[in-house]
């Protein structure tokens, strides 16, 4: 089974030989060939060379061709602020001071903005690696595009100007459909609708203002015979269910969402989930072994059906290539990687950690040390148990989680003498190591300290 078959089968919810791997190497691809972000997003030759290098080094099953949510906004009249190491940002919003709608004549076509370059690279990549690798065409989601056009005012419009938002979303949905046409024609296998901002609105607002738009796009992608994905950023835990109702083939999340809990939701809808290797703490600042260990742990704690391993979002430019290679290897050769890193311990930290004055605390302090409650199943349950206590005892106790994914917390673990994760210390004393206490036991211990 090649990568393309693996991705397409995963998105059709069929069995595969191993979990699929999709590195989101947008501007980061430039770091592999000595080009900056602006080169990668404006120069077709640089983009193509970078993608070939990603393909060679990270051996992806699926490959996003360009990761830039500003392509459509630029065509529609937003001015850009270009940067060396990240995609451009939107500088001006053409609808900031008006509720007039933009002319349909501005909608994307193959000759506008950077599309001639992008479509050309898509075709080249299709010829070069498209037979064995699934190609992802990323389009800006209709809500984020609406915010590019309108600015932050859009958030208040959701409450004050619902009808206007409907009109604006209809416009940005039409933009998305044009992009689907163009990217389908250029040979993309998967259309990813990337809408980071939907995590910032309530599920009700999503349903009222965004459901129709996303449903329309995903239905259209299906009609075109392509697969779809819905990329979101931020803590979208509460939006996942309503996102599922729009009918994408898959959803991709970042490290702000608990992967295990998210997969329980997406599994209910038979939707594939992708994610969520932490971008900054792990891919950018971690070691290769930490990345390998993290991915192995993800694979060991999640069901392998309907699953894609990917970074939480577009990889930062400066991610060391060896970290992404480590993650790739952990997906492709999980058993060997598990063996390689089983004795790995993080290097000693030179971060100074000041422990609380445990003898003179004003209230009981519950410290939970986890690998990461967002991904490690045992840690999830341990943290859930502690959160129940947190809700019950409210402000009479202090409750804090230290995730091993952050360097400062690794230093804290070393200083505290933590040997097993997850574990719980109360007032500096180890109470439970790897064993999750029952509610009665936990409440009893805390009650005893409060009395």
């Amino acid at each position: 089974m090649n990568g393309k078959e693996r991705i397409l089968k995963t998105l059709k919810h069929e069995p595969v030989d191993r979990v699929a791997w999709v590195p989101f190497a947008g501007v980061h691809a430039g770091s592999l060939i000595g080009k900056n972000a602006t080169d990668m997003l404006t120069d077709g030759e640089a983009l193509f060379d970078g993608l070939m290098q990603v393909h060679k080094l990270y051996q992806p099953d699926g490959l996003p061709v360009v990761f830039d949510l500003q392509v459509e906004a630029e065509i529609l009249g937003c001015e850009m602020h270009w940067a060396d190491f990240s995609p451009p940002s939107v500088k001006t919003h053409p609808l900031a001071d008006t509720q007039d709608m933009l002319c349909d004549c501005l909608q994307p076509s193959a000759d506008k903005g950077r599309l001639p370059m992008i479509l050309d690279v898509m075709r080249q990549v299709k010829v070069a690696v498209g037979a064995e690798t699934a190609l992802y065409g990323l389009i800006c989601g209709p809500f984020t595009l609406a915010s590019h056009l309108r600015g932050n005012e859009l958030f208040m419009d959701l409450i004050l100007e619902a009808e206007y938002v409907q009109n604006l979303m209809a416009y940005t949905t039409a933009t998305a459909l044009k992009m689907v046409d163009l990217y389908a024609e250029a040979g993309m296998d998967v259309i990813a609708v990337v809408d980071p901002l939907v995590s910032q609105i309530s599920p009700d607002h999503f349903t009222d203002a965004c459901h129709t738009a996303f449903k329309t796009i995903f239905d259209y992608v299906r009609v075109k015979g392509l697969a779809s994905s819905f990329f979101v950023c931020g803590n979208a835990t509460r939006q996942l269910e309503v996102m599922c109702l729009t009918g994408p083939d898959s959803i991709s999340i970042d490290e702000n969402v608990n992967m295990k809990a998210a997969k329980e939701i997406t599994d209910k809808f038979n939707i594939t989930i992708g994610g969520n290797i932490p971008l900054t703490t792990l891919m950018l600042h971690g070691t290769q072994q930490e990345n390998m260990k993290y991915v192995v742990n993800m694979l060991d704690s999640l069901g392998h059906d309907n699953l894609i391993i990917a970074p939480g979002c577009d990889m930062p430019y400066h991610v060391p290539a060896m970290n992404a290679i480590g993650a790739a290897q952990a997906v492709r050769e999980t058993d060997a990687t598990r063996e390689m890193v089983k004795h790995y311990e993080a290097p000693k930290m030179d971060i100074e950690v000041i422990l609380p004055d445990y003898q003179n605390l004003k209230k009981p302090l519950v410290e939970v040390f986890t690998l990461d409650s967002a991904t490690c199943a045992a840690c999830t349950y341990m943290m859930e148990a502690m959160n129940v206590a947190g809700e019950h005892f409210g402000s009479t106790i202090d409750l804090i989680e230290y995730k091993f994914t952050e360097k400062v917390n690794i230093a804290r673990c070393i200083k505290m003498g933590v040997t097993n994760l997850p574990c719980v210390y109360i007032n500096g004393e180890l109470k439970w190591s790897s064993i999750i206490p029952s509610r009665d036991e936990l409440f009893g211990v805390i009650d005893g300290m409060l009395s």
């Binding site: 940067a83 940002s89 932050n152 208040m156 409450i159 910032q200 900054t280 400066h318």
Partner: protein, 216 residues
Amino acid sequence: MMEELLQRISESLQKGKAKDVKVMVQEAIDSGMSAQKILNEGLLSGMNVIGVKFKASEIYVPDVLIAARAMKAGTELLKPLLVRDGVQAIGTVVMGTVKGDLHDIGKNLVMMMMEGKGLQVIDLGTDVPAEKFVAAAIEHKAQIVACSALLTTTMSEMKSVVEAFKAEGLREQVTIMVGGAPITEAFCKSIGADIYRPDAATAAEAAAEAAIGKSA
């Protein structure tokens, strides 16, 4: 009666009813209630609830913005009275998104939450160079400098801000706060900043505590 009016101001603010808040704040002023009491027990109390709910993901960005708009409608009526009565903010914050970064939703949310805690916030906008943070902190006698960044590539500018305050010999005078999607506690420590908080509500709480600490 008066307590009930304050309660209604708080509730209307939480629902984002700017016009109602304005009418009720005027009613409270006309009844002879002190501007500070209206501010603290009506508007700020409502904004506090918004902060708690936002932190718990019970409400989202639009709800916070709409509540902040209602708060602004109320405070505009109170401002001249607060000045007349000599009421001071609990501290001053200069805030901006660092150089090279144009993202401001997070910064604006933190700003609103901080104002909701009784802090005066000087908004420097986006793409703010380090020296501008320093100049503004001197001009406004700020106790707190708050830097925001959304991009992994611009977060390093926060270190430039810390270094700029050191270079001017002002590092001890200000508390430097950092925040934004890619920021972590470890990063905050590594650049020598003072406070990192993961969300707007706790950032505002920390700023209020720091301001009180600095002025104590």
